[in-house]
Symmetry: C2
Subunit: 402 residues, 2 copies
């Protein structure tokens, strides 16, 4: 029997307990042993809960129990979660986590500690919820040089953008509704400002390169400035607006960013709607492959944590390969990167705009007098920003085009 | 250094050599050792080929060379490929293959032999070409009870259906063009009659259940009866026609089939066009996830074979888990399975049809006099077939609706 502890009995933590319980037969067969949850660490009490008797408040009980060989860290944050993870790994206990913030911040250090102690630090659930993406990158696409990764990595923002598109509603109205329904947090910044996507891009980029991409250096723009006007022009041209996390190999540097993009129907991410997530990976032999599914939610995320537990159970005392060193990856200067752009301006600015952007394509929506849309040619970020500055308040919307 | 032999220097075999050569640094890093191709087995000579000096004609040279620890079987067929694979595994040499026919026919026996000799039989490339799907099923979705798998598993048929839809061309015309361009074989039966998809469904179903699904028992219908008329009605109702391979757990039995289906835009397979493949997996915790990419082609397929080689290299002397026993899975009787159906009939048959199919929905395309379309309610296959028989030659087209 393999003894497990769960740190944090919130949404994901209770999901982990539920998955192990509900799929017991399958999970034990795959783990080649019986898994038993011995402790659940939480500051709170859970009177009446089926697993009330497993709840403990002192992490040392878990750390000092030599029977415990695998720990699920589902607390979140980079404070206690970091300390507890280190403590566990230093004692040779493998840790499986859904904590993207911790992985993005201390991933390579924790991997080093794990490997020095013949145990593992696994984090399939930290990106894309239940969608297998970390394991395909680490074990499946091993014959590839990965050239780029692009993804819709946050369900809340994708839900908001989809609702705005389908219902013609404003950002604020959709956000309020999403909060009422529990699809968005009461403090929604981490999602809508792109911070959550940024952490995930940092993890995927680091795995792509085998080096560390510092999430603090990734240009990150959320969806708060997207208006229904922008969406109308996207629709008019067969496109849709998605918050993308991007990462591309450029020589020995990497370009990474988080921003809303207009994407066309030829891009497989076009069809990813609502709370679904998807990750596109381009390899130099395989070309494009995509991984799609529910990127969040209690059971999908817990399922990914449990798949890591099973992997740890099958590799007790052995190190599972993961290429992610502490060496820092160098990021390409944002201003030098080229994109096409969509611009939505007041009609009065058309003449000035057309002089500044030589080869742009004008889009007019019949019966709509308040704005005009333009698609520019591919140009450097800094050149685009400079010209937009000259147009000043006549610019009503601007979005990159993929 | 790990010594490798490639059996069969055709499209995939030469791709394997190319991938190992081109991505040498990455491949060796991931394999944690240097991979070297020592022999290439083929009956032909390859004068002037860069690897001409590695070509041998006698398989015993490979089998008797104790240095060889991994073999890539890229010959195809179930004759010599079967014999050579058994010989290799019995000598403790791991085998990686793209040969779906052999895996579907002798998979569990070959897995048993491999495991008895502490080596591995891996077949990521046998389904979905370069798309990682076998490894996600075996290692990633381990916490799930897989409820169903559905996929577009053959690039040739998907290319033909996409072309028919986009160009309004007939099946025969598109097939001829595809043959000229090399997208379809000169003997296209394996693809267009669904046999290739059938083998792949058998493999996926077997991995889903851990038992053996006999491909000969899978109901298989190809795309040769699809006409542009059917496609018109699909378009008219926002649907598209795809050749699907399906497998569903039904109690302790399994339902598996291969047939063209009309699918709506809510199905993520809707957007899979041209030579692309995709596999949807429904798990009881994760819900739907999808794996998408190039399902065929030299380098994508070779990339999957090489990812298996890397896995074998990292597990020399160790058995990699794979749950697929010889125990036969029981298949549900086709006639008892329920579907909705699309029917296209001569206008003269409308009255009779509407009496037989009570709750059907009629679709008329303005200006089109030669046929009328109907969507039935969900009903048993055998009831549908019985009623169609009564309509006789008035039935111009019939397609299941997913």
């Amino acid at each position: 029997m393999i003894q497990i502890a769960v740190l944090g009995y919130g949404t994901v933590g209770s999901g982990v307990v539920e998955v192990i319980e509900k799929n017991k037969a399958m999970v034990n067969e795959k783990a080649a042993d019986e898994l038993n949850i011995k402790y659940i660490l939480d500051l709170r009490e859970f009177p009446g809960d089926k697993y009330e008797h497993k709840v403990v408040h002192d992490v040392n009980m878990i750390m000092e129990d030599e029977e415990i060989s695998i720990i699920c860290e589902t607390m979140g944050g980079v404070g206690a979660a970091y300390e507890f993870t280190k403590m566990a790994l230093e004692r040779g206990k493998s840790v499986c986590t859904s904590n993207k913030e911790l992985v993005a911040t201390h991933g390579p250090e924790l991997l080093e500690i794990a490997h020095a102690h013949n145990c593992n630090y696994l984090f399939e659930a930290s990106v894309g919820g239940g969608i297998p993406i970390i394991r395909p990158l680490n074990y499946s696409l091993t014959a590839e040089v990965i050239e780029s990764i692009s993804g819709i990595l946050n369900g809340t923002t994708n839900y908001i953008l989809t609702k705005m598109e389908k219902e013609g509603a404003s950002f604020d109205a959709v956000l309020r509704k999403a909060q009422e329904k529990g699809y968005a947090e009461r403090k929604p910044e981490a999602d809508i400002e792109g911070y959550d996507t940024c952490r995930k891009v940092a993890i995927l980029s680091s795995l792509m390169l085998g080096k560390t991409v510092d999430y603090k250096k990734i240009y990150t723009e959320g969806i708060t400035r997207i208006s229904y006007g922008d969406i109308l022009y996207a629709k008019e041209t067969g496109r849709t607006i998605k918050l993308l996390g991007l990462s591309k190999r450029m020589g020995d540097k990497v370009f990474a960013m988080v921003a809303p993009f207009m994407i066309g129907q030829e891009n497989p991410l076009h069809m990813v709607e609502g709370v679904f997530n998807a990750v596109c990976v381009r390899g130099n032999m395989l070309g494009d492959s995509m991984y799609y599914g529910q990127g969040a939610g209690k059971l999908p995320t817990a399922s990914a944590v449990v798949s890591d537990v099973i992997d740890c159970a099958r590799h007790l005392g052995k190190v599972i390969m993961c290429f992610w060193s502490r060496e820092k990856a160098e990021l390409v200067n944002m201003g030098e990167v080229e994109h096409k752009f969509f611009l939505r301006v007041k009609p009065s600015a058309c003449e000035a705009l057309e002089m500044m952007f030589k080869d742009c394509k004008k889009i007019e929506i019949p019966g709509r007098g308040e704005d005009v849309g333009y698609f520019t040619e591919s140009m450097k970020e800094k050149d685009f920003a400079d010209r937009c500055a000259l147009l000043g308040e006549a610019v009503l919307g601007r979005i990159r085009v993929e």
